[in-house]
Symmetry: none
Amino acid sequence: MVKTKIKDPVRVQKKQKQIFRGAMKVFRTKGFHAASIREIAKACRISLGSLYDYIETKEDILFLVHKEILDQIYRRVDESLTKYQDPRDQLTHVLAEIFRLSFQLKDEILFIYTETKSLEKKYLYEVLQRESEFVEAIEAMIRRGVNEGSFDSSNPAVLANVIALTGAIIPLRGWNILPHYGEKEVVDELITIFQKGLFVHKVPTTCDT
Amino acid sequence: MVKTKIKDPVRVQKKQKQIFRGAMKVFRTKGFHAASIREIAKACRISLGSLYDYIETKEDILFLVHKEILDQIYRRVDESLTKYQDPRDQLTHVLAEIFRLSFQLKDEILFIYTETKSLEKKYLYEVLQRESEFVEAIEAMIRRGVNEGSFDSSNPAVLANVIALTGAIIPLRGWNILPHYGEKEVVDELITIFQKGLFVHKVPTTCDT
Amino acid sequence: MVKTKIKDPVRVQKKQKQIFRGAMKVFRTKGFHAASIREIAKACRISLGSLYDYIETKEDILFLVHKEILDQIYRRVDESLTKYQDPRDQLTHVLAEIFRLSFQLKDEILFIYTETKSLEKKYLYEVLQRESEFVEAIEAMIRRGVNEGSFDSSNPAVLANVIALTGAIIPLRGWNILPHYGEKEVVDELITIFQKGLFVHKVPTTCDT
Amino acid sequence: MVKTKIKDPVRVQKKQKQIFRGAMKVFRTKGFHAASIREIAKACRISLGSLYDYIETKEDILFLVHKEILDQIYRRVDESLTKYQDPRDQLTHVLAEIFRLSFQLKDEILFIYTETKSLEKKYLYEVLQRESEFVEAIEAMIRRGVNEGSFDSSNPAVLANVIALTGAIIPLRGWNILPHYGEKEVVDELITIFQKGLFVHKVPTTCDT
DNA sequence: AATGAATGAGAATTCATTCAT
DNA sequence: CATGAATGAATTCTCATTCAT
């Protein structure tokens, strides 16, 4: 996707990973705009000129970083999705994975949320496309649960977006949560909230008899 | 809070509002970093030199904008909070207000979420302090409902943060929602989600007898 | 000399003294270029607008300060010159006065030596003219001593310039002298140097007989 | 001493000389403050960006110029100092060298005297340190003459400072000398003044018998 | 393929001066 | 006469990008 001057694709992939790691190191503390290409090159341990053999624009780095982070997230959530069959189990474990990622990739997710706006159009489209597919997967999971009678949701698409958004709760609101509550406590609480909001209540059901 | 060279406080207040409006107009499309002071001054219809009579640094503008936006949000949510006594009514209307604001102040809230990181320390502290109080008010509302037996929540603080975060759902995920769903529909759905997650279910109670 | 908008000459004189004092306070630490008109106005306790009623340009202040400082110096040296008749006494006391001024007006003389270059032409001419007259007075004193047989100098004009320059030794080289030697010690040493360089040695004379 | 972004030290040295020459060309007429970096870059025939690869601050240029000028002066005076053994010869030739430099490096020395005050602390310290050593060398020369019975001085340190200061007589007072007297005439006169002030008079000695 | 020196457009900020009140 | 708000040209410095080696 990113145009390079170098032919060998293996070398390109290796270097792009190197660039991701170096860039992320700088972005973590300074954000995208405040980070200079010089700094990034130094953090990557690549010379300035060589860096430009693997990218064309500073924004290419921004895209590279986006891609790498989203890959990590989606890969792990996809694994959770395919691991369980029962909708309730599936939901519980997917939520758990999403919320744990909120803690583990705090800086990375924050970066995505604050810097996606700086992506130029062609990249933005691709990133949003992938994120869209991610949310659709969650939505599909909910719909399955509804169809099987396990879940109760009038608008799975909106709910899926709330869940995805809540996956950014630690990056975006950790300053107000982390001083008071631990990871396990928070993850459990978040899971409970969405379970309560989704699960069909069996008690009334039995009661009806 | 922002140091100015101008002595007349009335004039200062008037101009700062003018600066807020002009700056926001530019920030909306370019974000904070990409907006140049020259552009901002032009959008404010203030000369560059005069602008610097009312601020000391570009970051002062960032703070001014934060303050103005947060004022608007908090004022409206506070009104909702004091309008109703019954916890269920109160919750419903506060959520409604928060989620409607998500639509109405889409750009402003997005700005807050993406640019707060650029605030320098002294300003960041003040902004987070106010936001913290805002979330505490929501938390207190939940606790009252729990005490009165209307709500069921094991960790009102985390839940309050989820609610606050969801107030940014349109700014942050509108691209994935607005093409498919309208304001009323979304607001109702969001309210329902949190009601389900909070309200004590009376049916089981009567059933128990 | 400096053009003002104000008519009353008494008021003008009073204010210009005020301006000198305020300006000097700022110049002492920052020099002429680094001092802003705003700062100077504040130090003078005059409003910015009012300051500009008594001057036309920042350089007018520079000239005002020059004039005031040179007035002080020349007045005191002139007093010494007219106090004594005998060339040797006269020389001794004039030198004493010049070198004591080097200590007492350290900052002011330094200012003159470092900032005269910033004066615009019309003012520069006037300042150099006065300085020239001052040196001529010293030169005349030396010539009188030579004519009377007390002094021995082949080029009184150059010597007078050396003396005038040495009057700036503390401002210009105090950093290398003041940590080691006190005022009296230095003044006495300087007087001795120029006495030795000037006085006709009587011993050989009597010896010749 | 000046931090650069360029790695090749040979190139750095070459360019710094180039910067010195260009900067001095501008400083000569405008002084340090009034000279803009853009002007300096142009005079150096270096692009603005490239100039900043060799310096970090405008003040770095000030230091570079100081260093270069002082190097020239000290080198030449040191040569004179080591050339002669007899204190009287040594004094005469060192004075001659110093006073000739006063003519030849008129603008450079004037620059040093008027702009050293603008050096930031770390550089000021280094410059004064070197100047201090220079004066100490003169002082040591005087002391040797005193010990050998050739000179008569009660405070060689103060005298050394007067000599050093007189080395700036043309830069600082040339406007009052050059219109009337030529280089040779002035240098001879200055030498004579300090010889008379220092040399032990042999006539009285023999006379005493 | 890799290096790092060179470029100049553009950024934030300051400041002497004017002018309406 | 006095005040202080307004102006915009000019300043220092940064940085993405190119290019010769």
